[in-house]
Amino acid sequence: MMTNLFSSFDPMSSTFNLQLNWLSMFLFIIVFYPLYWISNSKSSVLYSELTSYITKEFMPLFKSYKNIIMFNVLFMFILINNVFGLMPYTFTSTAHIAMTLSMALTIWVIFMLYGWVNNTNHMFAHLVPLGTPIVLMPFMVLIESISNIIRPITLSVRLAANLTAGHLLLILLGESMVNNSILIIITVTAAQFALMTLEAAVAVIQAYVFATLSTLYASEV
């Protein structure tokens, strides 16, 4: 019996007693097709259009394209992981806090270390927003410091929780259909169609949000 509602989130595969489900992260390498010809095929146009759209979104915050490459790749990696998580039986690696926190914490620590070591005064100035009354300044510093410290947690939990919640809803609806009347089955299937569309949107949006917030945190340094 399905002992656990979260069994589809379990990275432990039943073969070899190893956590082989994490191999779904490598689908990113298979799907990011290396090019051979100069002109794009229809399959690679999708990636080039997506990456050029993301580049145009992020370019105003950076001086040159070489600083954007990491965020482009971050967006594509999270997008492909999220979308493949919606496919049957494929493991969603970005629904795990271990994965999202390792990405978010790495990014945040890099920016904090670089910013505080090299531009200390600039970082201090960021703790007080423009136009703050003098009386409120100590409290603003406190609030801004706390909001800065919780950034890796919010970044990671937002992604993991969104994906987990969506998958969980679909699993729960699926379980409620069992041994029920045909009317319930039709209604629940319609609801699952709607939820699946929502999940596809959430997969893309959450990848975009993660990458955009990372670029914003980078531009503040």
Binding site: S7, T15, L23, S41, K42
Partner: protein, 108 residues
């Protein structure tokens, strides 16, 4: 053959531009044309080192790319193939866990 290097048998003057899907070594009988009695000898002639196996997987991947991804009007086929292959792979990987589902008889 190191990582990222051309195979030792590749010669730009003889073979032209490098094609990662092509075998540049000594030509042997294709597997489909090998007689059953010669199969053992055929398998014995294969290189079984980790580098050779990696190179073979790489050539197979590039052949798939040449056939399904790089043509100008390729479409959705490669994506659907990857989705189907990954679903099948993870189904097999998690089969014992999936079989134990309480509602297993209502889904695959």
């Amino acid at each position: 053959m190191g990582f990222g290097e051309y195979p030792a048998e590749y010669n730009a003057k003889v073979h032209g531009p490098y094609d990662p899907a092509r075998w540049y070594g000594k030509v042997d009988t294709p597997l489909a044309q090998t007689k059953l009695g010669e199969l053992g000898a055929w398998l014995g002639r294969r290189q079984k080192s980790p580098q050779a196996v990696t190179a073979a997987v790489s050539r197979g991947y590039w052949r798939w790319l040449h056939k399904y991804v790089h043509p100008k009007r390729s479409g959705l086929t490669p994506f659907l193939q990857v989705i189907a292959a990954s679903s099948a792979f993870f189904y097999v990987l998690n089969y014992t866990k999936i079989k134990a589902h309480r509602i297993h008889k209502y889904h695959w």
